[in-house]
Amino acid sequence: MNEFLTVMVGLILALLALGLVRVLRGPGDADRMMAAQLIGTCGIAALLIIGVIGDISAAIDVALVLALLATFAAAAFAECARRAQQPDTPPETEGP
């Protein structure tokens, strides 16, 4: 069983490397964000399988943290992309 899972990790890592091509090529920020998300999901899948093969339950914790913070980074990226598009929001929008 472990041999099969190792081969699957190899395939997922190869797909992860292919996904990097989209990060390199772009063309837009949206494409890069998508590629980063695919890389993240592939990395999470690889971590889960490695954790099960080696019986490292901490690998699943790492995958959980990665899933949570990759979402956070993607949200931050989208937020900044929007701010770059609409930079003219006045800083004093707060009420008293």
Binding site: G19, R22, A30, M34, L38, A45, S57
Partner: protein, 97 residues
């Protein structure tokens, strides 16, 4: 019994990797941002979901199994919201350039 469980693992993980393959090929080959997004969501939701499902029989303990399910639910939530945000960014990019 364990042979059946191993079979479940092989079938589900293979199917999951197939969806990852489909997502990656789509991300590389599809012509524009929104269709690429369509390909990506398959890898996120189904690919990782099937991989997690396939690993459940091998997880060893109930705690690990629950954590696998949590990872998948978290990625589902992330995929759903982030693809919305990406689509908004893509629309703005398209309209401004």
């Amino acid at each position: 019994m364990s042979a059946v469980l191993d079979l479940v693992t092989i079938v589900a993980v293979s199917a999951g990797v197939f969806f990852f393959l489909a997502g990656t090929v789509g991300l590389l080959r599809f012509p524009d941002t929104l269709t690429r997004l369509h390909a990506l969501t398959k890898a996120d939701n189904l690919g990782l979901g099937l991989v997690a499902l396939g690993l459940l029989p091998q997880a060893g303990s109930l705690q690990n199994g629950l954590k696998l399910v949590c990872v998948w639910l978290l990625v589902l939530l992330a995929g759903a919201t982030v693809s919305q945000l990406v689509a908004q960014a893509a629309r703005r990019e398209g309209s401004s350039s």
